[in-house]
Amino acid sequence: MDIPELTIGELKDILRDAAGEGEEEVPDIKFPDTEFSDLGYDSLALLEVEGRIERRYGITLEDSGLAEAATPRLFLMAVNLQLAAQAAKWR
């Protein structure tokens, strides 16, 4: 079975859906490495995003790895790590 993986584009969509548009002035190329606070997303926005990812993949995310993820790229890495670990368990 394929390991589920969230892409940066999908994360952007979930963010927008959960918490509205980010700061307009940040170009796409800079988005992955811009801090969430500079994008205009606070801790509750990320909590909301985590909830949606959990529902989408039917998993429970652990807060620990995600809490320190300051940028979309780091957040994505932490999420995909957990998704892969869950997939390995189910095999």
Partner: protein
């Protein structure tokens, strides 16, 4: 010696007008905004009319990031606050960091948002409840979001006393200015037009079951049989009078006096606290009853409550002793928004020398009220008394008057 506290900005959201000038144009001419409920399907309910703010699209006024985390009432409040600050010429970024606070009133918090999340909880599970439910439902959220959105770090809070709360919040804003603040953002905006909010309000047994908007809400009429709930209210910018003068701000008027009382327990045989609230407010303002040019009534629209209010007004001002009006017949009863909207209306009456009418009402002669009906009345207005009564026994009275100097 208490500093004078004036109003330098107004922002209004109401069923007959989105924005101060729309509202005042409609109100002056007796144009109401009550109609069939549109926000949800109310056909199965005993009450099916409401006063809903027309043409409000949150995304047109607010940054997209605020939309998912705010109830409809908070969106209305944020926009009203934006407009009030603009109207006052106050750009918070240019003021000292802790010089502006926020005190609003709320009756019910974010019911529409809360209902949706409760439905998510029970239909789908806890993991489907929005993280934003943590504050979007809460009474203080309007104060919170206004304060965060504008970086207002002065003392802030919320007053919850049903329909009396709006006046209580403005009074608290006045107290903060006496204690040293230069500006306070005050007022109230409520919006509970959703099934959960509807059912909650129906328990008061004071909601009209009439389907004709012209007959549904008729305070002081012999056929009064309840009120129509509305959404909206007003945000007022209060300011230290010296501060306003120094920066050349336009002043609508002064918060002249205020008092709040509580009714005795039902069955005690003692009179309601409303008359005392009026006399204490007059004393606070240093005015006599003869100085008041108009009373904006609470106007419950239930015969027993109308009788109590008419008696209190009559006891202080004498039979037909002062013009009385209820512009809320055009907007519905706005819970925490009622007091501030009536204050704004009173200030505009002072500015324009015009008393807006009470619509759809033929006043019952037993009340001995000089009720302004049929048409607006042109008359100089130098001081106005606003009354607000909250379910459960709250009575608040506030006097606004033309500012001196």
């Amino acid at each position: 010696m208490r500093t004078h506290v004036v109003v330098t900005g107004i922002g209004i959201v109401a069923a007959n007008g989105l924005g101060t000038s729309d509202y005042w144009e409609a109100t002056k001419s007796g144009t109401g905004g009550i109609g069939a409920v549109r926000r949800f399907d109310a056909t199965g309910y005993p009450s099916r009319l409401s006063g809903e703010v027309p043409g409000f699209v949150a995304a047109a006024h607010l940054p997209s990031r605020l939309i998912p985390q705010t109830d409809h009432m908070t969106q209305l409040a944020l926009v009203a606050a934006d407009w009030a600050l603009l109207d006052a010429g106050v750009d918070p970024a240019r003021w000292p960091e802790f010089s502006i606070g926020v005190t609003t009133a709320a009756s019910s918090g974010g019911f529409e948002f809360g209902q949706r999340e409760l439905q998510n909880l029970w239909r789908k599970g806890g993991e489907y409840v929005s993280a934003y439910q943590s504050f979007a439902w809460f009474y203080a959220v309007n104060t919170g979001q206004i304060s965060i959105h504008h970086g207002l770090r002065g003392p802030s809070g919320v007053l919850v006393s049903d329909q009396a709360g709006g006046l209580d919040a403005v009074a608290q804003g006045r107290r903060q200015i006496w204690k040293g603040m230069r500006v306070m953002v005050t007022g109230g905006v409520d919006a509970s037009i959703c099934p959960w909010g509807w059912v909650a309000q129906l328990t008061s047994r004071r909601m009209s079951t009439e389907d004709d908007p012209k007959r549904a809400y008729r305070p002081f009429d012999a056929e009064a049989a309840g009120h129509v709930p509305g959404e909206g209210g007003a945000i007022l910018i209060l300011e230290d009078a010296d501060s306003a003068r120094e920066r050349g701000a336009r002043v609508y008027g002064e918060i002249g006096g205020y008092a709040a009382t509580f009714d005795p327990a039902p069955g005690s045989g003692r009179e309601s606290g409303l008359r005392r609230a009026i006399t204490l407010a007059l004393a606070d303002a240093g005015l006599s009853s003869g100085d008041v040019d108009v009373v904006l009534a609470d106007a419950a629209g239930m015969p027993d409550l109308d009788r109590v209010e008419a008696a209190a007004i009559g006891a202080v001002f004498g039979p037909r002793g002062v013009p009385v009006t209820a512009p809320k017949t055009m907007t519905g009863r706005l819970l925490s928004g009622a007091g501030p909207l009536d204050l704004a209306t009173a200030l505009l009456s002072i500015r324009d020398g015009l008393i807006p009418p009470t619509i759809n009402v033929v006043p019952a002669s037993e009340y001995e009220l000089d009720l302004v009906v049929a048409a607006p009345r042109t008359a100089p207005v130098n001081a106005a008394l606003v009354l607000a009564r909250g379910y459960g026994g709250f009575n608040s009275a506030m006097i606004v008057r033309r500012a001196v100097g």
